[in-house]
Amino acid sequence: MSALEFIRTYAATLLSLGPIAVGVALTVLAGARMAVAASLAVALGIVGVALVLALSGASADPLGAGAMALLAVVAATALCAAGPVLSREFDRRTQPIALGLALMALGAALGAAQTRDLLRLVIFLMTGGIAVAALTSLSVARERAVAPAAFTAVLVTVCAGAIALCGVGLFYAAAGAFDVTAIATSLSASPGREGMVAAALLIAALVAFAGVAPAHGWAADVAARTPHGTASIVIVVARIAAFVALIRVYGLTQAVTGSGAATAFALGCACLGAIGVVAGSLQAIGASDARRLAAHALTAQFGCALIGLAAGGADGAVAALFVVAAGAMTALALVVGAAAARPQLGAAAPMSALDGLAAQRPFVAAAMGVAAFGLTGAPLTAAFLGKWLSIEAALARGWYWAAAAIVLASFAAVFVAGQIIERMYFRERSAQIGPAPAGALSMAPALLAAVTATLVFGWNGAAPLEAARLAARAMTGAP
């Protein structure tokens, strides 16, 4: 077996269990420098495997492959920035533990995004949830307010995990399998009540795991309290992975429930989407913390994606996937930019840390400016195309209220973006905040990736659109 073949065959295992194993080792064994080196090696490794998968032709699971490519880029660039930032946040003993926990959360997220086995999905999500909670709790010594956020994360993980396991159990009882395809094949011929209840339970649990409104409060709390160095993995990677799982399970619900129930599920998801898009956008306006803002913005993007997904058909699913990808890039730039702007890294990242950033870190400010415009769905950004597709899908379905919710979100996003830009470009940095820290170079890959993806795919969305189409076709069975 050649190396290439080996990677292709064991990609799923390498991408999920690899980071988890390295993470466990780091928390137990390694020193700070070794931890940074190991995390960079993992970053290179996951990008390499994702690249091999992407270049080796059509995948049997385009949704998983697409999600993997997106998450690999986000995670790898985030890991590049993690080491230097964590060294400002923690002592030398805590740094490897933080990196180890981040790698465990990352491995679990990558596993959850690609697995088609529902039992493994729940295990991965619970592992990731516990790792995120532990990671957040590392800052308790510095700020006691972190403790409730970490505790909430544990509580959500346990409760949502229990609900998800009930759903998975019901599916197994009805179909005798854990695999999504096998369940769909078994139940699509004779949709029953068990399938419907199982789907509802699983979706409810995934809504909580992904931090989709109305279960998004915990995600914002954790985002605002988690260490800066690993914030991208907690805020972006873990949530996006759970949302990809939600998309997969939503596709399953459409296959295994009767037409009436499928319509009810669609309407329910659209309502959740509308709530998310409005709540996320409005809460983002009032956010006093940059990472909380990014978390709420991602909640709004999830809402937008859910509307597209629920609107139905391959076009709606394409819209959902496009929105999620664009949202990931925007959130990445905001989270990494917030870390680059904060001189003393405490648990919080107040918006005032952005004041006058353009004068001190013009490239970081420019990247955050692009992300801010992406939030508004400004034309020629990837987010614009995502919003366009979502609104089009909602209008085609006759859901004017859902389209109106997306429009309202864009409207609100203008104020959010205006606030970010106004702070960076038109405010003086007070002496109390202090100068922006040096060492923004380690954040360059993340910012560059976010800006490039936002602008290049906004100019020509053909490549991500094709990937999203493949995934949507595989999910919906459309020709």
Binding site: A378, L380, G418
Partner: protein
Amino acid sequence: MSVTTLLSIAIVLPLVHAGLVALASRPPGLRDVVHIVGASALALVCVLLLASVGQGDAGRIVAAEPLPGLELAFNTEPLGVVFAAVAAGLGALCALYTVGWMRLTRDPAPARFMAFAALALGATVGVALAANLFTFFVFYEALSIATFPLLAHRSNAGAGRAAAFYLVLMLALAMGALLPAIIWTSVVAGTLEFAAGGLLSGRVSPLAANVLLVLYVLGIGMAALFPAHRWITAASGASAPASALVFAVTAASVGGFGVLRIAAYVFGPALHDAAIAANGVLALAIVTLLGASLAAFGRRNLSERLSYLCVAQLSAITAGAMLGPAENAQLAAGWFAAALQLIAYGAATATLCFAIGAIEAASGFKDFDDLAGLGRKMPWVFAALALGALSFAGAPPLAGAFPKLWLMIAAADHGALWTGLAIAVGALLSFAALTAPVARALFAPVPTDHEVAPDRAPLLIIVPTVAAGASTLLLLVWLHPITAFLTNLRGGSP
């Protein structure tokens, strides 16, 4: 040179211009030459484009296709080409004026201003030459962003606040109303391509047509219809080159052009299906026109008074666009009036902004009360000011006279005599608001406490001011070719 080549150059040139100005920020001489040459070259390209289209050539280019069927495309539709030529021509005068102004006031960051001025001009040309609603929206948004630093250029809190208000309002209205309207149009019509005769014609129910028209007019906040007019009045404190660029050449003109373009090329005959909304917008335009004209009297500051009069003049464009062709009428008198008003507005507003800026820069005076006798010290500037003021008032044979005449014809076509009466009253109010102070400046004795050196404004300020003033007379010469150009607004020639 082929039409498609000219189109490509017109789109790319401002980007190159902006980049070169930013790179050549020192020495100042090189920077200024690059700015003037860049803006003049764009004007030349647009005039060549106008000449080519006049000879019957047509072209279309696609710059990008972000999504299948969603093209960033440009074409040589006559109304757009005329507007591009007018904007680029006035833009060249603005470039000359900007150089003079920056030198006179020793501005700390002229290269930044000039770079964004080039981008704003480029975005305006992009809006003008847009082949479809998507391209229109992209360049409209780009214009909102590019003009923001121009308005904020005066580094005081007031300018910053006004610019921030402008940006947030424009982006919010565009995202909240214009974008949904465009997507809805795409769903209903299956295309976004501008079409003579209206792309919605025959494809939309009366209810949808009414809602869409409201969304479009609301979304184009740059048209400054009440209550969105506040962006102009709030930004009246901007520097003279910024005011000229934003009020006369780019943003405000694009607002008027956008409403006309939507009415003629998106709705066309479907405007009759949206009669309720069209009449509502028409009424709002008239209220804005009269209200702004009256409000102008309460302002003693030159720039503030001008800003209210700009709002009134812009409302006349919207009024013309909503009047359109009367049912079963041969002529699209309303749209033709709106097109003429667009040209007249640009020329007169540029003249007034230049002149008021020259007065402020040379004398430091900002209020009408300070103008007494100043006309004798600055005869060229005040002569231009008088031409601009008379054009606003619709005095023949200046440019402002023709659109007002056609607006009254359109109003008569529709049986909306109240509209014609309001246009006439608005013209009288403009006359009173601007010409009285000009007369005071030219004929009143100079107060003894005024210590003003004779015409301290440099040539680089006086020349574009006078040239812009002279342009208010040129519509007399250009009326026939423009009439021939705009026949496709609705089939027949006005």
